[in-house]
Symmetry: C2
Subunit: 335 residues, 2 copies
């Protein structure tokens, strides 16, 4: 089953979307919003699934689904906690500034709490007030949880994953060093994130969803050119079961919490840092990583961060090259 929220009020209008993302059926007679569905998931999921089957079988009135009409599936959420499952990404960022990677980073996930009061739709612009802030995309996988008990094990945590989707975790790179130096995590350096038009239940992903990882390439384009094709299940040190268990160690986690994978990042086939797509590599899911490679190899970071007019596209295809979640496609706008 695939779900989306059409733009409507603060929380959107819940719709069921066809597997090919061509059509939708209004679901608001069952439950008005995705958060309300997650609040009462076990009871409501069968009704939503029935609607989804009827939509696939053309048994009910349907409307054309346009990705640009979609708000974030959860236009605001009670939690947005972003992990750093791709330790390769963390290692590169640290290497570029000459910092060692602590050994514990391979066993103890990094995670930060993000702002979740204002989550953007897939076609919403990236509002950038000051280009000197160093705006970057970060393409990631996310899951949405049900009610998770405190102390859940990584294995058991998988069963609380209700939905899977994509995020562009927009980052203001030049604000990060000073903010992290204060020691309390990200506040100003993480403006509003944008989410894929559609979130899918794990069972709708079939074999693409295994062991709490998405077994597909995350396609990141910058200004219409392929920028990243990292495979989300490769070099993924922490699956979503581990990330959820990390978050739930000292308190329960409530329904509708969004948990992110961190920037998807692959090593090169030779085991070294990833190469650009133009050199036959899988590229990058954020600009910062390419800049790190540039610094390590040439001493200079030459690729600029995002400027007004730049466009970022994030998508995942199935084997038939059909989009699974719809594409995040955002243009940077002076704001």
């Amino acid at each position: 089953m695939k779900l989306a929220s059409l733009k409507h009020g603060r929380d959107g209008q819940l719709v069921v979307v066809s597997n090919d993302l061509a059509w939708y059926a209004d679901a608001s007679h069952i439950v008005p919003t995705l958060q309300a569905a997650l609040d009462n998931w076990d009871q409501l999921k069968p009704y939503l699934e029935l609607l989804a089957r009827e939509l696939e079988h053309d048994a009910i009135p349907k409307e054309r689904f346009h990705e640009h009409d979609a708000a974030a599936p959860l236009p605001r959420a009670y939690q947005w906690a972003d992990g750093s499952a791709y330790v390769n990404h963390v290692e590169l960022v640290r290497k570029a500034r000459g910092a060692e990677l602590p050994e514990s980073f391979w066993t103890d996930p990094l995670m930060y709490q993000g702002g979740s009061d204002d989550l953007q739709g897939a076609r919403d612009p990236i509002l950038l007030k000051d280009v000197a802030w160093g705006c970057d995309m970060e393409a990631e996988i996310v899951v949405v949880t049900g009610d998770v008990p405190q102390g859940v094990s990584p294995d058991d945590a998988h069963s609380y994953i209700r939905l899977v989707g994509l995020v562009n975790d927009v980052s203001l790179r030049n604000l990060i060093p000073d903010e992290l130096a204060k020691g309390f995590g990200f506040v100003q350096s993480k403006p509003a994130s944008a989410f894929s038009p559609v979130f899918a239940t794990p069972d709708a992903l079939g074999a693409y969803w295994q062991d709490g990882k998405l077994h597909r390439a995350l396609m990141v384009d910058l200004n219409g050119q392929p920028f990243g094709r990292a495979v989300a299940s490769d070099d993924c040190t922490f699956d979503f079961g581990v990330l959820i268990a990390h978050l739930a160690k000292t308190r329960r986690v409530r329904a509708g919490s969004i948990i992110g994978s961190g920037t998807v990042s692959n090593r090169d086939a030779d085991g070294g840092p990833g190469k650009p797509i133009s050199e036959g590599g899988r590229g990058y899911s954020c600009i910062a990583e390419l800049r790190m490679i540039e610094k390590i190899t040439t001493g200079d970071m030459t690729t600029p961060f995002l400027k007004v007019g730049d466009t970022v596209r994030i998508d995942v295809h199935d084997e038939r090259e059909h989009t699974i979640f719809g594409a995040i496609e955002q243009t940077v706008v002076a704001g």
Copy 2:
């Protein structure tokens, strides 16, 4: 006007509470939840205020208000961002571990994003799974905002403060060093926070609310003994206008965001670190601060963190010694 949410479902039932906290009137015929009221504040506030006046004038049916029936006014929120307005507290914590306070800490607020999916009521227990985690209270002032535009100035930010209340920002002190060393802020070391039974509009606080600060003492008791009597408007380096503007620098902040002051902390009258109440000082709003003083003065931290059975009480009185927000009173329970 004073508002509370009686325990009911995930978001509580909105009630208007009399100024003396003795009575309440159901407000759910106007708007079912506090979040929904904040979503449409300008339109709904006059109706809620009318109800509050009728309650004060005994013009409508009323019910006894019991603080233990109250959930957190927002039992879940779309944002919980906690500042550190009392730099004295930060300086002490750092001094105890031999770290200098960066000069910028006096001009650039510390702030972290906290989990807001599960906010506790004033009488809910503090569930503690492992006493070795070093459980501590942190008594703070909070405000709830309306929709705040990006880039708001500190002066203008005051007008977006809708409600004022108290929080016990429970901290697991022994998990903090390792977590902060990772650089991404607090996740596991901040379990669910608890809030005062009632939040008040700034105008209901009269002269106690000035310049974005609460001009009253924050009364913290530990196991029935006075532990802290710090005045929230003293040694407050950053008022709530500054804290809101800090959060809104790079993105808008949406209605229902809760912003905290950080642990309230006063210097001693002689300008040095605060003294215990038993020595004529104003005491402390968290145990860690007393332990820092102990370490600085004797080399040893002797006061233990919270254990099962301990009780924390946080309250603010008016001049007639009547509670303003109701008391947070939590007992530590094995969880």
